[in-house]
Point group: C2
Chain length 197, copies 2
DNA sequence: AAAACTTGAATGATCATTTAAAAAACTATT
DNA sequence: AATAGTTTTTTAAATGATCATTCAAGTTTT
């Protein structure tokens, strides 16, 4: 309890501020949002954010880390019950359109992060790592599903499709329908794989 | 000649500065790039940009307009010689991966513009107009190629795929291979349409 | 000579970040 | 369970840096 007590406020603030960052970036844009605006989302001050995160860049990094972990969790959950290679491919697709993850605010933050990642070392690193992870999952699952010559082309097509869906989701004015996105993704994957051999 | 002369320098600067904007945004990022950096790309000063474009926002808008026009031109050229609906669909796809258009710097500017468009009225307008145009082209060509029930799903899939390819291209460190991108796009479109009925 | 163009030096606004001092939460002791 | 001491948290105000934009005085072109 002693230790827990020490950590509690810090953890609460950490979560609050990351949530506030996603909301504020969605409202005002990654480039335009100020520390004060983020702070106001949860009724605190910019100085407080610096107390907990040090810099704006760290805050953005921590926010992106939360999204990456959300994606990873969604993926591992589905992986745990997948039996066949096809199941596992669908697990990867579905994870990307998980209810908890596939929201306008999340896709929007992701898109804006993506656009500015190349210009900030710490963000570029996160981006690279995640990209490599998704790619290797796709490669592994496609190995036993499509012939060797077409594998990379199909993997790229699938990844581009998914990125494109997020991009569109990021601009949406209405709430997203994650279940529908999963169906569409399966349909598209089905078409791409059906004739690939 | 008088009139031409009057316009010449203005036109040259206009072109130079738009090119400089694309390069500088690629180097430094849409959010981080300064007027001075853009000016330095062509050895002039920030004040000069303001003389010609008034504001940074106008400059960005003009830059995006050039890309939009490049895309439109590439499309119309190919449309002119397309005979069948299938030809016209391929024309739309190929235009998006035209040699003049599909470069890292262009895709990068496009991506960054895309991410920040929702937060600036004039840019949002451009974005909306372009999006509507591409969508209506796809709808028109798919009308006679795929059954009614699947048309929207396939159109969305194709558009998302193309957006995703741009997104990846924007991050590339090597020069792009536009011809290869066109081939891939045809291959993907082929798979999507083949089994859709 | 007039118009168009250029630029170095202000201007003024906006921000992230730091500081210092106060408030709150927690711990240990009695 | 009250209290004094310690650490953690909060914030208003200062700091300092960065920029887009404007200005005014030049230069070049027509």
């Amino acid at each position: 309890m002693l230790f827990m007590g020490r950590q509690r406020i810090r953890d609460i603030r950490h979560d609050e501020l990351i949530t506030a960052t996603i909301t504020a970036v969605h409202k005002r844009g990654y480039a335009a949002v100020t520390m004060t605006e983020i702070a106001q989302e949860v009724g605190t001050t910019a100085a407080s954010i610096n107390y907990y995160f040090g810099t704006k860049e760290n805050l953005m990094e921590a926010t992106m880390l939360r999204l990456l972990n959300l994606l990873k969790t969604a993926m591992l959950e589905r992986y745990a019950t997948a039996q066949t290679p096809r199941d596992r491919l669908i697990a990867v697709l579905d994870a990307n359109f998980d209810d908890r993850f596939y929201t306008v605010a999340h896709c929007n933050f992701w898109m804006q992060f993506w656009a500015s990642a190349p210009y900030t070392d710490s963000l570029a690193r996160l981006h690279r790592i995640n990209r490599a992870r998704v790619t290797s999952h796709f490669r592994a699952e496609l190995r036993s599903l499509v012939p060797h010559e077409r594998r990379e082309a199909l993997r790229e097509a699938l990844q581009c499709y998914m990125d494109g869906v997020w991009l569109e989701a990021a601009q949406s004015t209405a709430p997203l329908n994650a279940a529908h996105a999963r169906e569409e993704a399966r349909y598209v994957a089905g078409l791409l794989l059906k004739n690939s051999d």
